[in-house]
């Protein structure tokens, strides 16, 4: 590796990290405006045209807030844990192909690292992400923060299993651990059709994995004041906030990569071929890169809207419901999904359309049955009055 390659790599890393944080800033605005519309209010619209400068105003406000460190906190761990939370959220972007801009040597400008275990890398970084929250809760030396941290670790390891197994479904469909290959194999049909059950379980488990509403027991205000970040203020609080949102967008990007065809969209190849013939390979590559990046971002935006929608619609679950859902519903469903994928791909290896239709139908039936059987609120609660002798 020459030094020029090293410089290019470093520049790519910096651009990707800055892009992730910029996406965070505007995702907060998007979420606040969308939530406001869903709740029949206006949302922040004063700073700049249509509220476009609101993230900047928030950042300035957070910078100028007083930075308090609790006296009894474990000082070093307290200071380090926000970065513990943020680093996995950013480095997880390394193996996600956000587009396809061929660099002429078989590589791709829009994917930082193409490794043959890309999907496992995503799972690995995801599983390390919980430490920031857990350790922050402990280091604050506050019982509410501590409870938030303990809840976070229990919740994340419970849902990681279901998440990993649904990812395995997509891996089996493409027969590769590489994210680039998984996206390429979806040129004919997106994975959401043969992996419909897996996609639904993935979205639920991913929401729980990034501890977002309706699974945000980690920061349940009514029970835990502010949860794990109660004792944090100023930029350290902002780092936690940032890691949460960057993780959420990264999860949506992973869902797009694994189930929604990544940067592919119908007609992409025709368009590229046409432009390449008309204007040459360089322009063709550029058009391919920009349109695929645009398609990817559009899909991520659509999934992000769904996340905000879910947050505006569903109330927070109880802790026992959370654990029941993770272990007794999502884990068996994802195992069933793996079994269906394995059996169909071995029985009918040459008929992808037929396999896809069968597994779609089976998946929808299983989801419908599960939703009907497991519907909460069916059992009648009886209250027994007990006489207490005083």
């Amino acid at each position: 590796m020459t030094w020029i390659d090293l410089v290019i790599l470093v520049v790519k890393c910096i651009v990707l990290s800055l892009a992730a944080t910029a996406v965070f800033a505007y995702f907060t605005l998007f979420e606040r405006r969308t939530l406001a519309r869903l709740q029949n209010r206006m949302g922040p619209n004063r700073a700049g045209p249509g509220g476009l400068l609101q993230p900047l105003a928030d950042a300035v406000k957070l910078f100028f807030k007083e930075d308090v460190t609790p006296l009894m906190a474990d000082r070093w761990v307290y200071l380090v844990s926000p970065t513990f939370a943020l680093i996995p959220a950013i480095i997880i972007w390394a193996t996600i192909p956000v587009g396809m801009w061929p660099d002429g040597q078989g590589g791709n400008w829009l994917q930082l690292a193409e490794i043959n275990v890309g999907v496992l890398y995503l799972l690995a970084v995801m599983s390390v992400g919980v430490y920031g929250i857990t350790v922050a809760g402990w280091a604050s030396n506050n019982k509410y923060s501590m409870l938030g941290g303990i809840r976070a670790s229990a919740q994340v390891i419970s849902y990681e299993l279901a998440l990993g197994l649904t990812v395995l479904g997509a891996v089996m469909q493409a027969q590769s651990f590489s994210t680039a290959v998984i996206v390429e194999r979806q040129a004919q049909m997106w994975n959401i059709v043969p992996q419909f059950l897996g996609f639904v379980v993935f979205i639920i488990a991913a929401t729980a994995e990034v501890v977002r509403a309706p699974f945000d027991l980690v920061e349940a205000e009514q029970e835990l004041v502010g949860g794990y970040n109660t004792e944090y203020s100023s930029m350290k609080f902002a780092l936690f906030f940032m890691s949460e949102y960057v993780k959420l967008v990264a999860m949506n990007a992973i869902a797009v990569t694994l189930f929604l065809g990544g940067w592919q969209f119908p007609g992409l190849q025709t368009l590229t071929l046409f432009v390449t013939q008309q204007y040459g390979a360089a322009v063709g590559n550029a058009v391919l890169g920009l349109t695929s990046l645009g398609a990817f971002l559009l899909k991520v935006l659509a999934l992000s809207f769904v996340s905000v929608w879910i947050r505006a619609t569903l109330p927070r679950v109880r802790y026992d419901q959370l654990m029941n859902l993770g272990w007794k519903v999502l884990l068996p469903l994802s195992l069933i999904n793996v079994a269906i994928t394995a059996v169909l791909n071995v029985l009918l290896p040459d008929a992808p359309t037929l396999t896809a239709i069968i597994s779609l139908v089976v998946g929808v039936i299983i989801l419908a049955v599960t939703a009907n059987v497991g519907r909460p609120g069916k059992e009648k609660r009886t209250v027994k009055l007990v006489e207490i002798g005083l």
């Binding site: 275990v117 799972l123 857990t134 670790s153």
Partner: protein
């Protein structure tokens, strides 16, 4: 380039291990052990074993250490209360064993790597190769391990249900 990365990672791994042993607080020890695990996973990448890198992070850093932290936090057992030696023979035995290990490592380092240890094919640890080895050559050990884990899971379930039944009887 690789040598620089190796030196940095190895230094981090050793520093993490030493700090884990020396820190008095159990949570600090857990964090240092985590740093050690991450550094070792980077060493696996340098050895062309990306699958082991991912598994090291997922299993050790992602699952086992979270459980350690969880238990330590739940029990509130961060502080080492009892620093007295429980077993008199523990320290001499440990020192002897580590001296033997150090001697072996020194011998191998001085002798240099065996000629057959040099890897020419960098795909030797690709996921497909590992799966092939596990499901053909090492099928029996693999299945026995799976059986042991299943027995452990059943044991946990049995212990849990008998405990809750006892609670009901009260």
């Amino acid at each position: 380039m690789e040598l620089i990365i190796f030196l940095i990672t190895a230094a981090v791994a050793v520093a993490g291990a030493v700090a884990m042993l020396l820190s008095l607080n159990a949570i600090h020890s857990a964090i240092f052990l985590l740093i050690n695990f991450v550094a070792i996973s980077v060493l696996y990448v340098l050895l062309y074993a990306p699958f082991l890198f991912a598994i090291q992070l997922i299993v050790y850093a992602g699952a086992i250490m979270v459980l350690f932290l969880f238990v330590v936090m739940l029990l509130g057992a961060e502080r080492a209360e009892d620093t007295r030696e429980r077993f008199v023979w523990q320290r001499p035995l440990g020192l002897t064993l580590s001296a033997i290990l150090l001697g072996l490592i020194g011998y191998i380092a001085l002798r240099g790597p065996a000629p057959e240890a040099r890897v020419t094919n960098h795909q030797f640890a690709a996921p497909e190769r590992i799966a092939e080895a596990l499901f053909t050559t090492y099928l029996l050990p693999f299945e026995i391990t799976a059986f042991l884990l299943l027995a452990a899971i059943v044991g946990v379930v049995v212990l849990h249900t008998s405990g809750s039944q006892a609670g009901k009887r009260e």
